[in-house]
């Protein structure tokens, strides 16, 4: 348990740094920006307390906001997604799976992929609508949501498989 908390704190800090220093400066064709920090919420162990999840989600979004100078936007989107995490998990994962199970692309491929797609697309939909805040240029906003979601989801799968492969390699 202690090790998993430590692991999550390190992941928290690394993801913020990665997002702020590198990924937010990327903009494919001027529309698609990869948003990777949600990976933290995906990789929390399944039995985590609801309060722990939403508060860490809020702090994660707030930290991103502080660095990107967009107060409240990422925090709002991430808190809502964190609150939806439990119902979504119940939707895709077996309920009797043990509490310190960490979802991953190798451990539960199908459910994890569906769970990721749902969480990331919800998160980016919220984020971009809070950012644009009108239905004025709806096609442009939708294009940004879809393209950013695709890139973010692909990046999350790549990162997940990369980390776990190395871990398994160390174990072997």
């Amino acid at each position: 348990m202690k090790i998993s908390y430590l692991y999550e704190i390190v992941l928290f800090i690394l993801l913020i740094l990665l997002q702020v220093l590198l990924l937010n400066r990327i903009s494919f064709f001027g529309i698609a920006t990869p948003v990777l920090y949600l990976y933290f919420l995906l990789k929390l162990t399944m039995g985590r307390n609801f309060l722990y999840v939403i508060i860490s989600g809020f702090l994660l979004g707030l930290a991103i906001d502080i660095f990107l100078n967009t107060p409240g936007m990422n925090a709002a989107a991430t808190t809502i997604v964190a609150a939806c995490r439990k119902p979504f998990m119940n939707l895709f994962f077996e309920k009797d799976e043990y509490d310190d199970f960490v979802p991953g692309i190798y451990t539960a491929t199908g459910p994890f992929i569906r769970f990721t797609i749902l969480m990331v697309s919800l998160h980016l939909t919220l984020l971009f609508f809070i950012e644009s805040f009108t239905l004025f240029n709806l096609p442009a906003t939708l294009l940004r949501i879809v393209s950013s979601s695709v890139i973010s989801i692909l990046l999350i799968f790549a990162l997940d498989s990369f980390i776990f492969k190395r871990k398994r390699g160390e174990q072997v």
């Binding site: 609801f50 409240g72 964190a82």
Partner: protein, 282 residues
């Protein structure tokens, strides 16, 4: 109360989630000028819509009052028009030799005054039609005064009480009024045959009188109405009882179905003319 606390304890984590989201949105609006401007403009358009709607509804209820004001104003203007009309008539010299030694008083009292009144009762279903007005002898209305509307002639006051007066309208078989076509000097009389209340008959016009559909029918000399008030418009030739005279159907200018406000004509010289004519009859 205990139930309330239980509810809060059981759903406390959701409450925290909602609070955190609310705080995030507070940050969004407090620190991002773009989102704040969008939020404020949409709020303004909502409140603007709200205010314009309530204003529309309120102004509907004020229509009656503004209508009365307009009528008062109209009466005033009509009075002035008559003053100026008389002045204009007096300026047209019948002869080039004019006595200028005597100048009339510049403060001319108009012959006609107009008292605005409202219709409180109106019957048009039967033959014996009448109109009740909400002003009576205490407002200066006497029997035999003419009544007109914004469109044209309405009728003649028959009876008055202190606060009400009864008018015999054009659409009553007892009503008679001398009238002529605007572009001719021959006169006939207007009466109503008891049929269509938008239509009266102009009788006893000489046979040679040429007419066109739409010709204006106006009052001729009358003790009750000023000259040249509009009564209606010729619509077609009607049945005539006498071969030497024509009868026209006249589409009445006043719409009795929608009659709301009228002006009662007060003739200052009526009594004088009346007594003078009575001396002759005796």
């Amino acid at each position: 109360m205990r139930n309330l606390f239980n509810f809060i304890f059981r759903n406390g984590h959701w409450l925290v989630a909602i609070l955190l989201v609310a705080f995030s949105f507070y940050l969004v609006f407090a620190h991002n000028s773009y989102q704040r401007s969008v939020y404020l403009t949409s709020a303004n358009s909502v409140s603007g819509w709200f205010y314009s709607t309530t204003n529309n509804i309120a102004s509907f209820f004020l229509l009656k009052k503004s209508n009365e004001q307009l009528l008062e104003r109209n009466a005033l203007l009509e009075r002035r028009l008559h003053v100026f009309q008389e002045l204009l008539d007096s300026l047209v010299a019948p002869d080039s030799v004019e006595v200028t030694a005597f100048a009339p008083d510049s403060i001319v009292t108009p012959q006609f005054d107009f008292i605005p009144a409202g219709v409180v009762n109106l019957s048009y279903s039967g033959v014996n039609n009448f109109i009740t007005l909400n002003k009576g002898s205490s407002h200066g209305i006497k029997p035999d005064m003419g009544v007109i509307s914004q469109q044209g002639v309405v009728g003649v006051v028959a009876n008055v009480s202190p606060h009400f007066s009864v008018v015999i309208p054009v659409i009553n078989p007892k009503f008679r009024l001398s009238a002529r076509l605007r572009n001719s000097e021959n006169y006939g009389s207007i009466s109503w045959d008891g049929g269509n209340i938008r239509q009266a008959q102009l009788q006893d016009l000489p046979k040679h009188e040429a007419f066109h559909e739409g010709d204006t029918v106006v009052t001729s000399f009358s003790r009750i109405f000023p000259k040249n008030l509009i009564i209606g418009f010729v619509s077609d030739t009607g049945k005539s009882g006498d071969d030497n005279f024509n009868t026209f159907n006249v589409h009445l200018a006043t719409n009795f179905y929608t009659l709301q406000d009228v002006l009662v004509i007060k003739d200052r010289l009526y009594d004088e003319q009346q007594t003078l004519e009575e001396t002759l009859q005796q």
